[in-house]
Amino acid sequence: MSPDAQKKRDRKLAAFDAIVSAYEGPLLRYATRLVWHHDAAQNVVQDAFVRLFQKWDGPWEPCPKLSAWLYRVTHNCAVDYLRREQRLEWFRLKHAEDWHKSHIDCASRSGDISDEAARAAEALRKLSLREQQLVILKVYEGRSYEEISQITGLSAGNVGFILHHAMKKLGEIMKKGST
């Protein structure tokens, strides 16, 4: 490799490292909520960053476009990961059970979480992946419809429509759970 190419590669690696540091936290939170398992989320985010290095052709600095791209790739990696496990529903529910046991029940016992929050977590698991994705992006990540639209490729109107129905569904499931 020529010195110029080596320098260019080093610069790219340094920029990549900065991007990893900037986005690893939010992406891990997002992936953990999607696959319901901490280790699986680490694998998903790792795959997303590898794809970033291989395929990203935009500017190598944190920006909204890069952020949207990373969220989209992380979602795709999460879906790939779940499909790779083949027993999609079984795997998701199993890990959700593990997560539920380790977080909700412990928190519930120690009084850190209300029954309502436990029901909300349970209800969230019952939504489709697309609905979960939108709820996570809106409620936990605080993204605007425009940003969610960029991440998911859906129109902003469609995002609002799906979110509205997802929230109604969540409310109904939580109501059923409380009775």
Binding site: V20, E24, G25, R33, Q42, K138, Y140, G160, M167, G171
Partner: protein, 176 residues
Amino acid sequence: MNQPEDSRARGKPRDGGRADGSSGCRTRCEEIQPLLLDFLTRELGGARADVIREHLRRCSACRAAASEMQATVEALRRVPGAGEGDQKLSEKHRARILKSITHPILAWMDRHHVLVSIIVVIVAALAVFALLRRVRLLKEDHASHITVTIGVGGETDEQPKLDPVSGRDSETGGVP
């Protein structure tokens, strides 16, 4: 555009709504309720938000729907676990990323170690099979060298087929 909506919203209860403002503006409520999440998450611009705020002030059904949605959002926000804390990639995963971008083939083999192991086993089995076959062929070659008989004076190796009962040549019927 918002002004007529606003005035229509204000006029509704007078036109046909009940005193408590709970219904009577069903069409209006059907328009408002899909926007409640947008309103609660501050997605709506000032004028549209004002229209909804005004409607909620008068309509108890939509107020109940809004507070229910607000409760759902708050319950979701109270769910612990993935949402909190400053999460970081583990050292192991960071090392894997670095390996993937500097040695992609090795990283691929590492990631797909089950597939690689299966391929290695199949290749090894084929190699052993080919080796054994080669050894057997060599042995067969060796054995055929021993059994070769060389005819003398134009005689061939072919023996006449004899009839098992008469002992005569079955092809010629004993005639030379």
